[in-house]
Symmetry: C2
């Protein structure tokens, strides 16, 4: 249990697409006895059991063996699986360690799911109207197997009811304020009896998500119910919503830059590269992102971005004046259409009464001039950095939206 | 269950310090009925139950109410808690939403744990020799409460047995190879009957952890058993181990730079700022990190780092020659003692037969010259970027170790 478990959230989202709710998620350590008890209870209680992890080659990977005991079902050696594993090692110029042989054992009667990104295959077993699926632990191995092989299989096995889900993603509004503003919409919709609705608000890393699920007796009815709520939420939150479902702020900004045929450069101090890193997470970001400067020292702010010595002396590196000169210098040097600058105090040290830890100055230089803003963030170093990078991206997003709106 | 659950791993590590094993972790959605069943089972089965999340102000935060039903115990309004919440809002210049009033309700008989980073207090209840603890969901609120208030309380309530745990962190060796080389050490130690040992290997994001736990009848015996294994593991893996326990590669590199009084600058293409971002995650990194260049476009590689036009034409931006010129240009411009350069193909597009997706070139320029290396990584864009950043840091770490070893 030393690893963080991200699969519950992932599987919950995937199963939702078939209208299946994930009722319970249990994480258990590498203790054979406890695993056995947990597996047996899950199998007794549920129609579908998904088991992830513990299919690796090492001695503490005992998931296969424990399930075999719980179901009283032998493991069978699959020569084809074995050959695939061996071939994978050969293709990388490696000798296969003897340990990996264990991964070619499959529960009797189970179908094998190919693993495109690793050695352990997945397994799906149907017994007495129940379904058991075993997946390897690493996400990059599990995700394609779930989406490419397991969900299509499940969709045939269960008949999903018409159901629509939508997530509205908001940055810069506190969770409790979102709740307060959402509540009247909830009540007005709940009064209608045409569909069943569930609502949730989820706050994580500065982003607040509103999640709406609607299910009704027919597809048209479900669509209509979702459309109606959709309009109300858009009216209430409008530009505060930066995107939907799985959208990331950096992806939305990228889309807008691409549409406007604009380019971007960034200069960062306290975020230390996080802003550039977020922007370049997006495949194809080289189409609009030119360059980033992590000017961590005062000397580098002067030399690289042309911040004036006097500005640093009079106002300090953490100031509106410095942010503005950073953004202008960054735009001038890179010849990008847009340049963002971030400078602040991420902590834990370096705060003063006047400029406490969490104080961050931003500047944005664009085709029609430069502007600056500041924010006081709270929390630990990584949260301040994360929120500062998101704030900068969100500001640029709003500005790009306005620019686009202005164009004839 | 839309959120990723990181608390299981965290609490497991914390409880281990008291010799308490986390037997089971259950994640449950915002369904009152299922929550009630899960809470009741956990309470029946366990001596200590820790419940996280669902103490927020919004309508779907029902943890308090469900526990009150399960334990048949009323919730009491605590005026002091209420005043603290209100004061927190006032200090931020905000009006308290009516919803937050709910957070001032505490299970009858429970002691209140102060929340320094949020509104919901923690609660600890002792009933019939059992302990129930409720914590708010956000990590920044939960961590200080667990470490500052709950663990000291628990340490008095349970009597921990002498137990030692150590984690060895390795980069650049596949999990199955670590396993193969560790196994003989395990067997030779297990033959001794002086202590109980558990071993585990955990691979995540390119890092392989070996985790050793030793418990014995006395402190001296546990210490001696851990020391003996420690020596064997160090002998086997030596420089492949970059750190221990919670250490991060960027933290180790920072420590070495600080000790050598050296400075660092980086230039990145495919990692897009991730390398600089990792380095600056470390508080106080401004003491040795001067600047970073995210030269994403060819033009910026030329203009900022002085990569020659001819190099880009003949070898391309993804080449040893380009990496070398990037590192040298970066060192020259920044006047840092060490300069790292990373250029590669993170994908999903841009690969060729000769240089497939995942091909990354590295260069390191230091006091005694410049060198370059390349690696072929596998997996998705974010994994390739993550592994490339770690590889660069690990190379620098080994080089800094060697430099230090050379000094008289």
């Amino acid at each position: 249990m030393g690893k963080v478990n991200t699969h519950g959230a992932y599987l919950s989202r995937q199963l939702e697409r078939l209208g299946l709710g994930l009722l319970r998620e249990v994480t258990v350590g590498d203790d054979a006895g406890e695993m056995r008890r947990v597996f047996a209870e899950a199998w007794r209680r549920s129609d579908i059991v998904i088991s992830t992890g513990g299919l690796g080659p090492t001695f503490d990977d005992i998931t296969r063996d424990v399930w075999a005991k719980v179901l009283r079902r032998p493991l069978r050696f699959h020569p084809h699986v074995f050959q695939r594993i061996e071939a994978g090692f050969r293709a990388r110029g490696l000798r296969m360690p003897e340990e990996n042989r264990r991964q070619a054992f499959v529960l009797a009667g189970a179908r094998v799911l190919q693993n495109g990104n690793g050695t352990a295959p997945g397994q799906v077993l149907r017994v007495n109207g129940k379904i058991l699926a075993l997946f390897p632990g690493p996400g990059r191995e599990l995700w394609p197997m779930v989406e490419g092989q397991f969900l299509p299989f499940l969709a045939r096995a269960v008949r999903p009811a018409p159901r629509r889900t939508r997530v509205y993603r908001i940055f810069g509004v506190p969770e409790s304020v979102v709740d307060e503003r959402l509540r009247p919409l909830i009540h007005s919709e709940d009064a209608r009896k045409d569909a069943a609705r569930t609502w949730g608000i989820l706050a994580e890393k500065g982003i607040v998500d509103i999640k709406i699920t609607v299910s009704a007796s027919g597809r048209a009815r479900a669509d209509a119910a979702l459309r109606r709520i959709h309009r109300k939420i858009l009216r209430e939150f409008s530009d505060e919503i930066y995107g939907f479902d799985e959208e990331k702020l950096e992806g939305v900004v990228g889309r807008l830059l691409r549409r406007n045929k604009d380019t971007l450069a960034v200069s960062e101090s306290c975020t230390g590269g996080l802003l550039a890193e977020k922007i370049t997470r997006v495949p194809g970001s080289s189409g609009y992102f030119l360059e980033g400067y992590v000017t961590y020292s005062n000397e580098s702010k002067r030399r690289i971005l042309g911040v004036r010595r006097r500005t640093l002396q009079v106002h300090g590196a953490v100031s509106e004046a410095c942010a503005l000169e950073m953004a202008k210098g960054c735009r001038r040097r890179s010849r990008a259409d847009w340049a963002l600058a971030v400078t602040g105090i991420a902590g834990p040290g370096g705060g003063t009464t006047e400029k406490p830890v969490g104080r961050v100055y931003f500047a944005l230089s664009g085709p029609s001039g430069a502007d600056c803003r500041w924010k006081q963030f709270h929390g630990a170093r990584d949260q301040i950095r994360e929120n500062a990078a998101l704030f900068a991206l969100n500001w640029l997003r709003q500005e790009l939206n306005r620019q686009r709106a202005k164009k004839p």
